[in-house]
Amino acid sequence: MKFFKLFAVAFFLAIASSCTLDKTDFEAELETEVPEYYEFEEAAVLTVENYTIHIEALNGTFYKGYNEIRLHIKDAHTNTELSSSEVTFLPIITHLAGDNASGPHQYKLSYNATEKYYSGYVVFPEESSQGNWQFYISFTDANQVFKGTQQVMVETQTNKNLNMASFIGADSEQYFIALVAPQKPTVAENNLVAGIYKYDKPTTSAGTFPDPSQFSYSVVSNYTLKLDPRMPEPSMGNHSSPNNKDLTQQNDGLYHGVVNYTMTGNWTLNLMLFNQAGQLLKGTVVPTDFTPGVQGVKSELYIDTLF
């Protein structure tokens, strides 16, 4: 019996040890490649006379691509925040060569009365390494117009799920497509949100700098963005997913669709942009064949994502 007791002790010790390999922590897995921007923090502050303008962005940083911005304008004398001001916002990059450019942006900011801030967006097509970004801000208080400028830094977009694309369409117009959501995709049906903008070619010659009419952009309406997501890795053989939905414009002006990601990794959103009349502006149909070992062919218009 003693033999059995010893055997029993050894036996249960052997089997009581835990799993050989740890299970994957799925939540942590999703975070490895995706920095999360979920909190608005102060990104810049400027003083115009006795007013202080606080500009907030997610993580307190401006990134290439789509950025939502929030402004608080404070009167230092009365120590109150303005709530009925007319605020305009114009971002301009001055390239090293000296020429100026901008990106799609909301020129007239809107006021969010419940949260008490002025809000807008800006799509930076370039980073600060390409030139010097300045914000030209004007606002009114007591029928008086105040103006200020502030230099900002635009950083490289580290979250590939917020990538953007810009191109000249078949109609010779310049278009911008910037991903807005999901910031943190998962292996699931993801609601895909993108902003689609067009550069409004100036009809008048430039006035005094900065002339907003030279840097005007608008949201295109009732376009369709056809979607075909695929994994470009050769080993994935042009793998795609089912039940995706093309992006169409919703009430918020943004374009909404559905992308299904079947696994984590590198994905390419192959796109085709059609205008209201159904005319193809950019993009090509990609092959649907399963081709293991071959790098996936991308549409002429695509945005890469990674999570």
Partner: protein
């Protein structure tokens, strides 16, 4: 115990006479009266040192899907393991491999099993809902004895074809108060060679198994017992798959309490709590030719309870069993890009799927006369599923419920007539089963047989089986003939169908299939078994089986065994025995190209073995030498994945010593 055993239409007892068998072969199922004290050895006439798979294959309604030399998936009544309940002493255990590379038969070893109890169709509802029936692996448990008693068995052998070397050891101790059973085994095999003497790469395996049971008699009529099995397999190759097993590990533990009653209606009350944890790690580090490096780890953890009472009063006896278990199945896949610095690609093939089941089963036997009896049984189960990462399932089935509860009723009835010369039985059954984890929640599970990625469907309906069975036999002193037939009409038959949407994820696959329900499918199984004693020491045995499975369009179902036969002669003289057998399948006419099958040609295998019993210092010993597939036939069967050839000529030797 007699009434209990009378219930068993299909008891596999290899110790019984006239059941010469062989691996990959079939034999008829006989009703065998087992006295409760005697335990049957896990061995066949042909070969005394066999694996659990080889032993199972010696039963007529079991066939196998083989992906290599190891861990064959048992098919009961030509139905895969989702449709049958596989248990060890009534304990539910679920494999952790999405590709069904680890049926629970791979987590035991022949030297810790006493018998395997196979019941066909709804008669197998005692351990939970089923369609095909149940396979219960019964472990060895030594009885309490008056005097302290030590016993042991040691078995060793070598098989030349795949250089398999094995050592199996058993030891038991019994006394008035205590019983202990222990076993330990190790098998190591290299690649086997086919009938053309070509080595089949990636067919090696190593397996270690150990078990321990301790029982204590708490009173004259009660005892407690704790048992555990630890099994570990390493470096197991699957020639039919693009990847191999690095490690699998199983811990199977239980504690039970048994109470006997001398008077009254209740005779036995036996309760058990159990736990098992399976880990199964597959990868393709041994396959440098693969385009994608991929890991596929899986885990399956089950907690369960079962409680059984046996009732008997005069001609009536009954068995009532409560089963409950909770299983969590997790399977992951991670693919590595060619550039290893790039992001790996990850998905769950089982997105943390919980299955909870609780059911009450009952079987009643009424002995109308000495020769005839009626059985009526039924069960009602509740099956609950929960998929933690339901997002994965939503990709193909948007809005599918995360939780699903199903009710699983089952009914069966039968009549048995048994006189000395004739026996006859008829039976019928009705039962539901819930979809398995893969069928309900699987996600891109690569099936290398038809080369499709399979997607589960949480909205699948219960599969509903209607069955009828009959058997008839005739017996004289020398001759016995037994025929059996059963027929299943299965509503909502679950099977994979090509999906028009989605594209494959695994680079070897050609498309995506989703589990869907056919309106119905039908299955017919028949077997005929005959034995004849030519001389007092010369016995002949022959078996013929036939099965036919069809879907609702009259198309063929996959994995249905073609007409097959087996015939054997067994001669004994004093301490010497010699057996020879021939078995084979006819051409597979009714194959199913839709499910990846091609026509498998017929084959015939001839085997021979001889054994000699002797004594060394009062220890009984048996030595055996034999050869399988003597003619070195090159063949593969209808159920061999990727038409991987079976083993060619194999000479085996073994020695068994009873200490």
């Amino acid at each position: 115990m007699r009434y209990l055993l009378m219930l068993l239409f299909f008891v596999v007892s290899v110790a019984a006479q006239h059941t010469a068998t062989h691996r990959d072969s079939i034999k008829s199922l006989e009703e065998v009266t087992i006295k409760s004290a005697t335990k049957n050895k896990i061995e066949t006439e042909m070969k005394m040192a066999i694996s659990v798979d080889e032993f199972l294959s010696s039963s007529a309604n079991i066939s196998f899907i083989k992906r290599g030399a190891y861990a064959w998936e048992p098919l009961l009544n030509n139905m895969s393991t989702e449709r049958s309940t596989l248990t060890i002493d009534g304990m539910h255990i679920f494999g952790a491999c999405t590709d069904k590379m680890d049926p629970i038969t791979s987590y035991v070893e022949s030297n810790n099993l006493a018998t395997i109890d196979i019941k066909s169709g709804q008669e197998g509802n005692m351990h939970g809902s089923t369609v095909a029936g149940s396979i219960d692996l019964k472990r060895k448990s030594t009885a309490f004895s008056e005097n302290a008693l030590w016993k042991g068995t040691y078995q060793s052998g070598f098989e030349f074809n795949n250089k398999q070397f094995f050592n199996l050891g058993n030891v038991s101790f019994s006394s008035q108060k205590w019983v202990a059973d222990g076993s330990i085994s190790y098998r190591k095999a290299e690649n086997y060679s086919d009938g053309n003497d070509d080595e089949v790469n990636h067919s090696q395996f190593k397996k270690f198994n150990s078990s321990l049971g301790l029982a204590y008699k708490t009173s004259d009529l009660s005892s407690v017992r704790v048992e555990a099995i630890f099994d570990m397999a390493k470096d197991v190759g699957y020639p039919a798959l693009p990847m191999d097993l690095w490690l699998s590990r199983a811990v199977i533990a239980s504690a039970s309490y048994k109470l006997l009653f001398e008077k009254g209606l209740v005779k036995v009350w036996d309760s058990k709590v159990y736990f098992n944890a399976i880990e199964h790690y597959m990868d393709d580090t041994t396959r440098p030719e693969n385009l994608v490096h991929m890991d596929m780890p899986g885990w399956s953890t089950t907690y369960g309870l079962l409680s059984r009472i046996n009732l008997k009063k005069e001609q009536y006896s009954s068995e009532i069993q409560l089963n409950a278990y909770d299983n969590l199945s997790i399977a992951e896949m991670r693919m590595y890009p060619q550039d290893r610095s790039e992001r790996t690609m990850f998905a769950y093939s089982w997105p943390w799927v919980t299955t909870r089941y609780a059911g009450l089963s009952m079987n009643n036997v009424w002995e109308i006369s000495e020769k005839s009896q009626v059985n009526v049984g039924g069960s009602l189960g509740i099956n609950y599923n929960y998929s933690k990462y339901i997002d994965f399932n939503w990709i193909f089935h948007p809005g599918a419920p995360q939780e699903k509860t199903r009710f699983l009723p089952s009914l069966n009835a039968g009549y048995i007539f048994d006189s000395n010369q004739f026996n006859f039985s008829i039976g019928t059954g009705y039962g539901h089963r819930a979809p398995s984890v893969s069928e309900g929640y699987g996600y891109y599970i690569y099936n290398s047989f038809d080369r499709y990625d399979y997607i589960g469907n949480p909205n699948l309906k219960n599969e509903i089986s209607y069955e009828a069975n009959a058997a008839a036999g005739f017996k004289t002193d020398k001759l016995s003939v037994q025929g059996k037939i059963n027929y299943f009409y299965i509503q909502n038959y679950i099977i994979g169908r090509i999906l028009s949407m989605g594209s494959p994820m695994n680079y070897q696959s050609v498309g995506v299939k989703g589990y869907t329900s056919l309106d119905y499918a039908t299955l017919l199984n028949m077997s005929l078994n005959a034995t004849y004693d030519i001389l007092p020491h010369l016995h002949w045995n022959g078996v013929l089986t036939y099965a036919r499975g069809m879907d609702d369009n009259g198309g063929n179902l996959p994995f249905i065994r073609p007409l097959s036969y087996q015939t054997s002669l067994h001669f004994m003289h004093k301490n010497f025995g010699i057996q020879t057998s021939i078995n084979g399948d006819f051409e597979q006419i009714h194959y199913s190209p839709e499910y990846g099958e091609d026509e498998t040609p017929s084959y015939t295998i001839w085997n021979i073995s001889a054994d000699y019993s002797f004594k060394i210092n009062r220890m009984k010993a048996v030595v055996q030498v034999g050869a399988e597939n003597i003619l070195n036939e090159y063949y593969s069967t209808y159920a061999d994945w990727g038409n991987i050839p079976r083993m060619g000529r194999n000479i085996f030797t073994s020695l068994k010593v009873n200490l």
